[in-house]
Symmetry: C2
Subunit: 364 residues, 2 copies
């Protein structure tokens, strides 16, 4: 697999800093921290904080007993330790040894940490670093796309074998655990799944229960795993045996909406436009009020990230954005159908990141 280019990410960060007149970026452990510095650390009560200034190598402030672990688990070599009875914020201030005018703060930084940063830099302005990271992380490189594609392949293959193994009488939770186990075995990384049968599938964002699979069940499978921490997110809706004509009618509408989003998504198009066009298909088929959520969201190191494909988001899509395309129709008390795959935004036309045959009920 192509390596991830951390050096380039840092260079890009510095370019964006210059553009925004930012003279210091502060990051506590977070996904953005891991994106730049390789280490995905837990945020605990002892301060760990990376600092980026334009003309120097990045600096990491960490508990003294963690210095070696930090040098091994991140790509930052300049790690400054603070002792149990030292003030880590003063340590940061002394080590930096300049008064920044404009600080860009990683967006998930805790309010209590922000207040401490504000104390040591009382005259600085604090900006949200989201602008910098959304832009960079949004434009996926080929190496990143390769990983999302691999994670998608793991997911679809796991679902395929799962569907050949399940039997009527199994509960949603049993099927869900079986799928998670399967994906984790193949990817070696954390996996997640949501399995819903019949009426339950009509409630998006609900969770698996002790509800049992029947011969004539609708099965909604929303699942994913990761490859080098890059996630896939795919929803396959199928039936255990031959589908009803109502199922096929609805399936066809949702598939058309999913295809329409692929057609609408491309560089420069406002994110909400893709939601709008897919929704129009479902509206016109008379099921508009049963499509109760946004069309999709960005996908990468987080299962949900920018760009969000939702009414109100007028930001233009960028080349390299990866976003889900997941229209759904949910008929209360009956069943729900969601068809979800993942698109790469390109200049003239977006592409599906991983192609697979969706007609699972014919494969058995």
């Amino acid at each position: 697999m192509q390596p991830l280019n951390y050096r380039k990410r840092l260079e890009q960060t510095k370019k964006l800093m210059e553009k925004e007149n930012v003279d210091l970026i502060l990051l506590t452990p977070s996904v953005n921290f891991g994106y730049l510095f390789k280490g995905f650390l837990d945020m605990r009560e002892r301060l760990i904080c990376a600092a980026i200034v334009l003309d120097k190598e990045p600096l990491l402030i960490a508990p003294e007993f963690e210095v070696e672990r930090m040098q091994n688990s991140t790509n930052i070599k300049n790690v400054v330790g603070w002792k149990e009875d030292e003030d880590p914020y003063l340590k940061l201030k002394e080590t930096l040894d300049f008064m920044p005018k404009m600080i860009s703060l990683e967006s998930t930084t805790r309010f209590e940490n922000f207040l401490k940063f504000k104390e040591i830099f009382p005259n600085s302005d604090f900006l949200n670093a989201a602008a910098i990271f959304n832009d960079m992380r949004g434009r996926k490189t080929d190496a990143e796309i390769e990983r999302i594609r691999k994670a998608s392949e793991f997911t679809v293959k796991s679902v395929e074998t799962l569907l050949n193994e399940i039997e009527p009488g199994m509960t949603e939770i049993e099927v869900q655990n079986q799928l998670i186990k399967k994906m984790s075995e193949i990817s070696g990384e954390p996996s997640w799944a949501l399995i819903q049968f019949d009426e339950s599938s009509a409630i998006p964002h609900s969770s698996a229960s002790a509800k049992k699979l029947r011969e004539d069940s609708v099965i909604l499978i929303d699942s994913g795993t990761s490859c080098d921490r890059y996630f896939s997110d795919i929803t396959i809706t199928t039936t255990f045996s031959k589908p009803s004509s109502k199922f096929l009618e609805i399936y066809d509408i949702v598939q058309k909406a999913n295809d329409k989003a692929l057609e609408a998504s491309k560089e420069g198009v406002p994110a909400e436009q893709v939601d709008f066009e897919a929704r129009k298909i479902i509206d016109e088929a008379g099921y508009g009020k049963y499509f109760t959520h946004r069309l999709g969201h960005g996908l990468g190191l987080e299962v949900h990230e920018h760009p969000y494909i939702v009414k109100g988001n007028k930001q233009p899509l960028m080349d390299g954005n990866v976003h889900t395309d997941e229209p759904g129709i949910y008929l209360p008390g009956k069943f729900g159908i969601r068809i979800e795959d993942d698109l790469i935004v390109r200049k003239d036309k977006s592409e599906r990141i991983y192609e697979f045959d969706r007609i699972f009920w014919e494969k058995k």
Copy 2:
């Protein structure tokens, strides 16, 4: 088990609000949120936010499709939903319908959420709600202590059976997984463990490896599970067969330091004093430089919480505080011994939360 009194927690919160002239508390999903409202929710990209004002029942702002789940998983009945294309912050502002002067913000609130709250309440002062929650959560009720005690019992019993099952040749990771499984089976809740043998045990905060158990190994077991989400945190250091005289010499010093902390800990004593007195024992025995971490930390809904028993923390201990008592001596290249149990702070003298026989090497 005695029920947890959520109503009383809310009343206490309001008293502390009045005392600090706070007219609004905002909480996004967090441990403090769960402490007050029962639901331990994940913080995702869609805003979920509880608001407490003095003269009303608490309010929860949540995505519209989550309203029912929120009513079921929290004790808040007044849940206001926002639609996918609505601004949740404006919804919060409209629903509250007053301009707060002083807002207390839950301390782990994300910087990006704080900026949005600041936008809708530009003239409000924002305080850190830590003061309110540290005080309340610090004074454990009998119901809370009962849960920590139960979790401690689960932990010690699991370690006891573990020690009768392990064999030379097993790796740290294997023993660790076996213990985690054991604890989770008995408690039905998340468990964690750190197992270190011999030289590895001399590196606190390191992690388990493929290192194998030997006949003459030192075994350091730092582990815990929870009961109703209240954690235990216990470290047992023992040997697989008969201990060496060096081990017994060091063990005796560490145990004396652990006993000294129990003696020093009581209401009104500055937290750092307890660290100081236990450390003195180890200093005087000539091993001061091998006791490289703080003496302890508060314990409850989080494994690490206030009060921290560390040099520099001059805050007086309060009746009902629960804190770990975990001195250690780490001899590089040889072995480390840490003895950790948990104390309840009382008026005249602290108490061990769960008594157990520490001499595990004689039990085999």
